[in-house]
Symmetry: C2
């Protein structure tokens, strides 16, 4: 049926919505939650039906902004609206709910319908729930990962070796990416790194890199940057890379559902889409990290390696110590400053961050066949750092992404609204609680306020005097600083014995 | 935060929606799909967040009609909006996904949050998927049924015996309810029957009863009607009886998910809410009915009886033959006419409908202890019909529901737009395909157009001559009639051998 539309200035962040007058909906034989296809000038969008509560004085059909954008609609434009039958992928979702193994074609059909917004959130939920309760075979997980990657942009750099890395996360300040990428790129390897922003942590790599340069690019811009300087450190959510994954994450959030097949495909699809051939994965283990013990880490390692190699990526896993924050600062600016100090061989560069990055680079250099042993790799990576080659490459990356490569460490200053935490006793730091660190930094205003966060002077094993300043809080505002202080009265960040 | 609202003339049919300006949402720290609570004058509604695409020239907050209705809001009113934390019921949904048994309290919490619109469709989907993939114990199913009933209105009639019936469905024209209810009520039993409208069938009992009287009532109106005349035949969806179920059905629809615990609780919650003490369930069996063979029917019977008796309802199941339509007509008006003919002992009353209703009434009379054998019950029910007592009671019910009790069969006329189907050969009717019957009636315009449908002159086992009229199609319009005719060129309704 043809109809004139009103563009409503509303967006859901999810499936496109069309609002129909009741009589119009009746003629079309659709009900709320049914799907229709809207066509204009050869383009089409699938949208879910809402109802106007009465006949409208204006046009009988309204569309939310998501629909208007995709079809380039203005109010008053005429579109063609048709009821559509249920997508076949619903049968495959049901099949998975019934515990059967899906074929590659069936998985492709589900993922394509997720990307095209043909499936509603309700239906995507059913798929996520099916995977959670019934699991997936290794073969299904490989197919799913490839489907997620291939329904978005897949980049090709024309190189035999394309390097990537990933950290499972959960450790504040763990910004090794920003050191490894310039080291590997300085040594001639292509490393198109896309990272996430913080969701529940005080800073993601994308938030931290953004202190030094823009990070939001389309996939073609990413390709251009990497072709030019060999590497990038960009935000993955800014492009159409593996976008099916974002839609699944949205429905996973309320129940915090992390079924292993979706966890693996989520991570590996992005690497696959970036054309990675060699991959290192960091699994930090600690009581308060995502992976709690070494047994869990080994199980995860095995799954990662099997799926990644099923996709043709050579993969090495590093199980690391996630007991306390890495580096001195937590929060985008403080973490960026730590990274720059390491890259510039600053005398006060945090040793733990430098060390961890070098060890990972060493493993990567073995994986790509540049060296035979990790010791050799460590020496090569270390030299690349100490000779300034890594920093030179980082400046090229910053410039290519549109930032100012002349970074002045002294100008990377945290918020002036600060408070010193003093040790209440003499002793040795026996624990720093990562959860409390993350929470305090969020309360202080990170990651939205780049200058907010916590700077540590004493970490695990350090001797402290009574009354000695052991950390400084930097708040986005006085109000946030006092909220953080009051939170710290109820929760212990440091354990000193 | 306090804010003035605009009431937007849009409804979703589902969870209430609030539309926030981006800056307002940022201050509240919410994202699309997050939940907020909106309060006004002591009342509150939980709503899901959509975004305005830009700052609005009017008020910073818009609410869909569902929100406005519940809080009695007008544009310009001030409300209080707060972010709310995730409902605890999400943990219980997760627990079910992990395959654990839920406690009664946990089930109550999930169902209460469904009724209060605290859970989004996405989250309800996760629950439905969990039940589908992990199943429920008999104890969980009983708890779920009680929770669904008790979160809506539960009616009490102060009688020792309250009778109810249910048919699993799938057989066109099967309108026994409208005969059994007046028989039982005429014999002094309380029978508050709520029925559904057609979803995919040509007519539900509610659609058919609506030909004779209004069927949409609040639960207190239902109580008043039943207190007065001992029975009702109302639409269940018009009240707040077992409303949690409707919300689960909505998310079950796209995947046609019919997990047994939800099927059982859906049906039995309504009976429990109506205070039923004695219950008969009709399970029609046929290749083209919902239950395909006798084995399936026996499994379903066992589950029904266990859950119903777990809820304290004495239950008897009748497994019936669902091979062809019951009665002569299919479509609301034609079915209502069949019912009236049976109740008024019309010489052309359809014998199969009369016979099935009497057999069910007989079983019910044994169940409530009125008679010792089904033969006695059959005789009593038959007498109640033939003496006109059942019709007298039906007239009371029609009047109590606000209809005109002086029903003139001659005025119950189907559409004038009709077409006679003639037999293409001499032989015996060996099959009538229920699916084709249902589809044709829907194409003809049933149930929206009450006068549309199919009238059968010959059914299973009847001898027919070549060229003899065996059925008439009644269309809502010429266009619909010709669509039905063209559908019948491709699909066979009658099999004549």
């Amino acid at each position: 049926m043809k109809a004139k539309v009103n563009v409503l200035p509303i967006r859901t962040g999810g499936l496109p919505i069309i609002v129909l007058e009741p009589s119009f909906a009746r003629d079309l034989d659709v009900q709320p939650m049914d799907r229709v296809v809207i066509r204009k000038a050869g383009n089409s969008v699938v949208a879910t039906v809402d109802y106007y509560s009465k006949e409208s004085d204006d046009y009988p059909v309204g569309v939310f902004e998501e629909v208007a954008e995709r079809l380039e609609l203005k109010s008053g434009d005429t579109v063609d609206i048709d009821i559509i039958s249920k997508p076949q992928s619903l049968d495959f979702i049901k099949k998975k709910m019934d515990g059967e193994e899906l074929t590659s074609d069936e998985i492709n059909s589900i993922v394509a319908d997720i990307v095209n917004d043909t499936l509603t959130d309700t239906e995507i939920s059913m798929f996520v729930a099916a995977v959670y309760t019934k699991g997936m075979t290794m073969n299904e997980t490989v197919c799913l990962t490839r489907a997620i990657a291939e329904t978005g942009s897949v980049l090709k750099f024309g190189k035999d070796i394309v390097v990537d890395k990933h950290c499972v996360g959960g450790v504040p300040g763990n910004r090794t990416t920003m050191i490894i990428v310039p080291i590997m790129a300085a040594l001639g390897y292509t490393m198109p790194k896309i990272s996430s922003r913080a969701i529940t942590s005080p800073a993601g790599t994308a938030d931290t890199m953004e202190v030094l340069a823009p990070v939001t690019f389309s996939s073609s811009e990413i390709k251009r940057i990497v072709d030019k300087v060999g590497a990038c450190i960009a935000w993955g959510g800014g492009s159409d890379i593996a976008s099916a994954d974002d839609k699944m994450i949205r429905v996973r959030r309320p129940l915090s559902l992390d079924p292993e097949p979706l966890l693996l495909s989520s991570i590996l699809a992005k690497k696959y889409a970036m054309g990675a051939t060699h991959l290192i994965i960091d699994i930090p283990v600690a009581q308060d990290a995502k992976t709690r013990d070494i047994g869990e880490a080994r199980v995860l390692e095995k799954s990662f390696v099997r799926v990644a190699e099923g996709l043709g990526m050579k993969t090495v896993v590093m199980v690391s110590d996630g007991d306390q924050p890495i580096g001195d600062g937590v929060g985008p600016l403080l973490e960026a400053r730590d990274v720059v100090k390491v890259l510039r061989n600053h005398p006060k560069a945090p040793e733990d961050l430098r060390e961890k990055a070098l060890r990972m680079a060493a493993k990567l250099l073995v994986l790509v066949g540049r060296v035979d042993t990790e010791d050799e790799g460590y020496r090569l990576a270390s030299k690349t750092l100490s000779t300034g080659k890594a920093w030179k490459k980082m400046k090229e990356i910053i410039a290519a992404q549109g930032g100012d490569p002349n970074v002045n460490i002294k100008k990377l200053k945290p918020s002036k609204i600060s408070y010193d935490i003093k040790s209440q006793r003499k002793g040795v730091v026996s624990d720093i609680d990562n959860h409390v660190v993350a929470r305090v930094c969020r309360i202080l205003g990170a990651p939205e306020t780049k200058e907010a966060g916590v700077l540590f002077y004493k970490k695990y094993g350090a001797k402290v005097r009574k009354g000695q300043v052991i950390a400084t809080l930097y708040g986005a505002s006085e109000a946030k600083l006092s909220m953080a202080k009051s939170y710290l009265k109820r929760h212990k960040m440091f354990d000193i014995r």
